[in-house]
């Protein structure tokens, strides 16, 4: 019994909003963008069929305000809401309000969000279902002594994590008992800010793990499938920056077992829609369930490249009541890599970089895909996550995918803000990356003593400035640049850059 969606409101911004608009256009569905004061000029606002202003730049007063989203949907007669990732994507209240207002929520049920969003409760369910788990605390506590005791039981290092978490926010690795208090407090503050929920807990920290996740699709007809793994071990500040599929660590046998467990996780939560089951895989081939993300994931395109499945379209079809029966024989072909293009300085501890984009040009050609939320003229502000675009390549082999990605990074030109393109090129060229030794501490271990090659480029760089100067277009760009670069500044997470884990 399927209901055809006519108009989707996208409760998000930047590249994922553009991605969903793309899917709507492909399906002949009208799209509604929402935007804050900071996004007057944003790509997603301009590409959607309609756009509704929902408030101030502060996320709490716009993208995180459920009632404003619901009102925008009612005002524009949108019959469905797609939450993207981040913001309200894993907020069960939005799903509930949609149900009340008879709007289709393109995602799982509020019960599934609720269960899986709470890392503590979901661990209990998953333990019962026989899914392997990392030892640690079962829930958030107020007494810091409970955290210390739990850490002692697990043995150091331990990891402090937000119960409502994701995206590296509210996470800290702790090596000694003395650091526990500060880490728990900082994690609580970040969690409160990011998710409006300051519950944090603690568990054993797995050394030399890989981050392996399985893409799940589940429909309302009882079909739950996985679309193979993604390896997302290359992380800075607990946030993925390079993802790939297949994982070099995977054997057919391991893939079959982990995939089956991923499906069981989704089934145990009565999950419907697209979701991702995250595992840590240690060097001996043991794996541990981390969490299930109840949303489309930033890195979903690499799965799309190797399976030829459009996950956002499938999400929408599932929300319409359609079956995923036709996807049961899906296979992996070739190798795909994604590099996230953040506005951040890869040469300076990934410090966020703000400013106006003065030049923007994308690579194209066979096996190259760009999902972008920005364009020339876009102001990258301090208000939101600094993701600008995702660069994805697909090739017959991992080796070719790596070369293709390096070439595509070189061709992807964004001027006006800093990026980590060069840092990612250096990762991709690194022997240890090429040989597949991609553990989650890769960046800390191998990238801390990069050579400064600036001097070798001095003539090239000055030659470009000189040609620009003498072409008479010496100030061919615009206004409002203000990327003032820091000095006595260090990122908190950067204290232990990349020393661990998760989304």
């Amino acid at each position: 019994m399927s209901k055809n969606i006519q108009k989707i409101l996208i409760a998000n911004r930047s590249e994922i909003a553009v991605r969903v608009i793309n899917a709507c256009q492909a399906m002949g569905i009208k799209s509604v963008a929402v935007y804050s004061d900071a996004d007057e000029n944003a790509k997603h606002k301009m590409l959607a069929d309609e756009a509704v202003h929902i408030g101030e730049a502060t996320p709490q007063k716009s993208y995180l305000d459920i009632e404003k989203i619901i009102n925008a949907a009612k005002e524009t007669n949108a019959d469905a809401i797609h939450p993207g990732y981040g913001f309200l994507a894993e907020n069960r209240l939005l799903a509930e309000r949609c149900l009340e207002e008879n709007i289709i929520f393109i995602g799982p049920s509020s019960d599934a969000i609720n269960l899986l969003g709470n890392k503590v409760e979901s661990r209990i369910i998953m333990a019962d279902a026989g899914i392997p788990l990392i030892p640690g605390m079962k829930k958030s506590e107020t007494d810091i002594e409970v955290y210390k005791k739990a850490a002692d039981d697990c043995g150091y290092p331990v990891m402090v994590k937000a119960a409502a978490g994701g995206g590296g926010k509210g996470m800290r690795v702790v090596h000694t008992a003395e650091e526990i208090k500060d880490a728990v407090e900082a994690a609580k503050r970040e969690a409160k800010n990011a998710f409006n929920d300051d519950r944090v807990y603690l568990e054993k920290y797995i050394v030399n793990p890989r981050h392996i996740e399985f893409q799940i699709l589940a429909d309302t007809h009882g079909n739950t499938i996985h679309l193979f793994e993604r390896e997302c071990s290359i992380q800075r500040r607990h946030q993925k920056i390079i993802e790939e599929t297949p994982s070099v660590a995977m054997t057919d046998e391991l893939r079959t077992r982990m995939g089956a467990d991923a499906v069981r996780v989704a089934q145990a939560a009565d999950y419907v829609s697209a979701g991702t089951v995250e595992f840590l895989l240690d060097e001996s081939g043991h794996y541990y369930f981390l969490e299930m993300n109840t949303r489309i994931q930033v890195e979903h395109p690499i799965t799309e490249m190797v399976t030829s499945v459009d996950l956002v379209i499938e999400q929408i079809k599932i929300a319409q009541g359609e079956s995923i029966e036709h996807l049961k024989n899906i296979r992996q072909s070739g190798h795909a890599i994604e590099c996230r293009i953040y506005a951040e300085d890869g040469e300076n501890n990934f410090m966020p970089s703000i400013g106006q984009i003065l030049h923007y040009s994308e690579p194209s050609g066979p096996g190259v895909r760009v999902d972008s939320g920005v364009q020339k003229g876009t102001d990258v502000t301090i208000d939101y996550d600094p993701i600008m675009a995702k660069l994805v390549v697909h090739a017959p082999s991992r080796e070719i995918a790596i070369s293709k990605m390096i070439q595509a990074l070189h061709q992807f030109k964004i001027l006006g803000v800093k990026t980590s393109k060069k840092f990612m090129v250096d990762i991709l060229l690194h022997d240890k990356f090429i040989s597949g030794e991609t553990y989650t501490d890769f960046i800390e271990k191998y990238m801390s003593d990069r050579k400064d090659l600036a001097d070798e480029y001095k003539e090239l760089a000055v030659a470009l400035a000189a040609v620009s100067a003498s072409s008479g277009t010496a100030s061919n760009s615009s206004t409002q640049t203000s990327d003032k670069i820091a000095t006595p500044w260090q990122l908190l997470g950067a204290i232990q850059i990349g020393d661990s884990i998760h989304e």
Partner: protein, 165 residues
């Protein structure tokens, strides 16, 4: 033919630009860089037989450059004072600035505290990340100009120190 001076990380380079029909040659003494335009702001650039893909754009007295993913910002000496005020506060070790606008989430020192180089002074949140600002020298806290929860810009010091001799 055109001689232009540029500052590259403190070093002055003199570029001589020659334009032919479809390309440019920029010489630095006996080193020659070839540039062929590839569309708006884009160039194929060659030096010593190696070819790079580059982009350049000028804005407010600065040239923003990407050469095979290496990023540079080169100041136009002819427009040196345009940026004014900005450019970091590297010289002033006695003042602690936020390097980008944000919100103070935690002050980690109080007036009169003795601080050591690299000690965390304040946590500022910007772009959804907490960021720790460190002392650049040993000293004593002389003034704290903001409180927790305050919005800060990059021009007013958050904390002022009296540096050790």
């Amino acid at each position: 033919m055109n001689n232009l001076d540029f500052d590259f990380n403190g070093e002055t380079l003199t570029a001589q630009v020659a334009k032919s029909q479809n390309s440019f040659t920029v010489s630095f003494g006996d080193k020659e860089v070839q540039l062929e335009p590839l569309g708006d702001n884009l160039y194929a650039v060659s030096l010593n037989g190696t070819k790079y893909q580059a982009a350049v754009v000028a804005s407010q007295g600065k040239y923003f450059v990407d050469i095979d993913s290496m990023l540079f910002e080169i100041s136009d000496p002819q427009a040196e004072t345009v940026a004014g005020g900005s450019g970091g506060h590297g010289g002033e070790k006695d003042k602690i600035f936020a390097p980008m606008p944000g919100k103070i989430v935690k002050l980690m020192v109080a007036g009169g505290d003795v601080v050591k180089e690299k000690q965390a002074m304040v946590i500022v949140e910007a772009m959804k990340m907490e960021n720790q600002v460190l002392a650049m020298a040993n000293g004593k806290v002389k003034a704290i100009n903001f409180g927790e929860g305050d919005q800060v810009d990059t021009e007013t010091p958050i904390i002022e120190l009296e540096l050790d001799e």
